[in-house]
């Protein structure tokens, strides 16, 4: 048994393992379907509502419908992330996983890579399809923008990040909380509760709100960024800091606790 290649479990193998796990359960397909179809459908509806608003031609950001509707995909994609760890902990499968790969952070990294990639693809798909739909509706009312306009491609690309951010954050929370319901509750709490702070009277709404995940996402994806929040570049950092910190906490806890 000593003739083995003297390398520990390889990153590629752990990735292959996690990819196999992800595509062999139905919940992956359901959550992805909901996360893709819901925002695409909603964005078109929001665009129609905006275009026919009584104010008529109100100075609304033409990219807003696409971003707003993605917020309705947050729950589904977040659940996908949470489930990746919480089902392993609740069934006890995590022990088989960690016995096969004793480097637990490699498991966390592989899950984050696989789920992150899937959510990113889904997010960009939603972003560009929604954009096309929304602009088709708005252009009929001369409110639309073209993808060739400066700043638009970047904003659309950035809006596709939201699903990636939420999925990886959910994954981290699943590893931290180790229960499905608890993980989802934590995710909803961290994303939506701070959003209330953005409603505080000025200037506090902006001072606090600029650190919240949803305000950061809107700022990153806006054609006309709000002035009371961080600049888009800094907001992008805020947006990515949420999953980064969650995964960091998960990485610290995952090796310290008994499986």
């Amino acid at each position: 048994m000593t003739a083995q290649v003297p390398v520990a479990v390889r990153a590629r193998d752990v990735l292959a393992s996690e990819w196999t796990k992800l595509r062999s359960v139905r919940s992956t397909y359901w959550t992805l379907l909901v996360a893709v179809v819901t925002p695409i459908g909603l964005s078109a509806l929001v665009a129609v509502a905006l275009a026919n608003a009584p104010g008529g031609g109100a100075p609304v950001d033409p990219l807003l419908p696409g971003v707003l509707s993605q917020e309705y995909a947050v729950l589904a994609i977040g659940v996908l992330g949470v489930l990746a760890f919480s089902t392993e902990y609740s069934t006890g499968l995590i022990r088989t996983t960690f016995a096969a790969v004793p480097r637990r952070r490699a498991v966390l990294a592989a899950k984050a890579a696989v789920i992150g990639a899937l959510a990113l693809v889904a997010g960009e798909l939603v972003a560009f399809v929604s954009f096309a739909l929304v602009q088709a509706v708005l252009s009929g009312h001369h409110l639309g923008v073209s993808l060739s306009r400066p700043g638009v491609p970047g904003a659309v690309l950035a809006s596709g990040l939201l699903l990636f951010v939420v999925a990886t954050m959910g994954l981290g929370l699943g590893a931290i909380v180790r229960h499905t319901a608890g993980g989802i509750a934590a995710l909803v709490g961290l994303i939506f509760l701070p959003a209330i702070l953005g409603l505080l009277p000025a200037p506090w709404g902006g001072r606090v709100g600029r650190f919240t995940l949803l305000d950061a996402a809107r700022q990153v994806t806006a054609l006309h960024p709000a002035t009371n929040l961080f600049a888009p570049a800094a907001s992008l950092l805020v947006l990515l800091a949420w999953p980064a910190l969650t995964l960091l906490a998960a990485a610290l806890l995952i090796t310290r606790r008994d499986a």
Partner: protein
């Protein structure tokens, strides 16, 4: 080889494993016995690097588990057969674990065949019986063709046929020169599966012995003698220093003299003897003696041993198949 050295594992105020040391060697099926809550599963989790020991070490082939290269090729373990995602098919479950250690599709198919799961490989495991799940767990343990194997309560929930099948499997693995550790809380089960026994209670080592030695060492040993002139024989035996107990059916239970001595004594005095049976306590009794004080929760009389732990004649440690079915 598995080496556990002065292992201690505490969960808060509870000490699950308390200074446990033992070695499991290749070539035998070693039974890991103890009442529920004795610390068997905790010890196995520590060996697999899943729980961190409070102090002490657990080594596999002289290395800590988390330093093993491709662990599935060195240790195969089945801790909990029901630890599965019900929505996955048997093949997807095994494949996902195989891939993490660079084990290919061909081996996945092989272990499915070895455990007789080929025909149900494409079915979701939620519909599997406990016996099928045990087979699936065994298939995973065998994936890397490892020299060391550990099974936690593998016969729980199996039917008679399944028990016979898995027992043969363990014996074949040991005969291959592998190290096989099988935990159980049932002595009757281990009596037929294991050559060596490690008995623990409340996290401490109670015995590290062979199955035969454990029976031998049991305090309860006597000779049953029946004679038409029992009263006369009783007097002679007492005079020789034996201690007698009269059994309900008129037989005499003799301690302090062995069977040949009792027979010779009767012959010297021309006393007919109708039965002369050397008796040892059953393995079950020996186990109960050993663990009697270390059982955490005791229900009625002997919860594990069935209705009545019969101290009946058991000439050696090979009870018939009835013993299995009765449990």
């Amino acid at each position: 080889m598995i080496e556990v050295d002065r292992l201690v594992k505490r969960f808060g105020a509870v000490t699950a494993v308390d200074g446990l040391s033992f070695t499991v060697r290749p070539g035998h099926v070693t039974g890991f016995l103890g009442p529920n809550g004795a610390g068997k599963s905790t010890t196995m989790r520590v060996i697999l690097g899943l729980d961190a020991p409070t102090s002490g070490t657990a080594l596999i082939n002289r290395r800590r588990y988390d330093t093993l290269v491709r662990p599935l090729r060195e240790v195969g373990a089945l801790l909990d057969a029901t630890a599965l995602h019900g929505g996955r098919t048997a093949r997807a479950h095994i494949t996902s674990i195989a891939r993490s250690n660079g084990i290919g599709r061909q081996r996945v198919t092989e272990v499915l065949q070895l455990t007789g799961l080929e025909s149900v490989a494409g079915r979701r495991v939620a519909g599997f019986s406990l016996g099928m799940k045990q087979r699936l767990g065994l298939a995973v343990a065998l994936l890397g063709d490892p020299p060391v194997l550990m099974f936690d309560e593998p016969v729980n929930g199996l039917d008679t046929e399944g028990i016979a099948w898995i027992r043969q499997f363990f014996k074949a693995l040991a005969a291959d020169g592998r190290t096989v550790l099988v935990s159980s809380h049932l002595m009757s089960e281990m009596a037929q599966t294991a050559d060596r026994l490690i008995v623990i209670g409340r996290g401490r080592l109670l015995a590290d012995t062979t199955t035969a030695q454990l029976t031998e060492s049991s305090a309860r040993k006597d000779v049953l003698v029946r004679s038409p002139r029992a009263a006369e024989l009783a007097g002679l035996l007492t005079a020789r220093g034996a201690t007698l107990t009269r059994e309900d059916d008129g037989g005499l239970a003799v301690t302090g003299l062995d069977a040949p001595a009792v027979g010779d004594l009767a012959a010297e005095h021309g006393i007919a003897v109708h039965a002369l049976i050397p008796r040892t306590a059953s393995l079950e009794d020996a186990y109960l003696d050993l663990t009697g004080e270390s059982v955490d929760f005791r229900a009625g009389p002997s919860p594990d041993a069935g209705p009545s732990p019969d101290a009946s004649p058991s000439p050696d440690a090979s009870p018939g198949p009835e013993g299995v079915r009765a449990r």
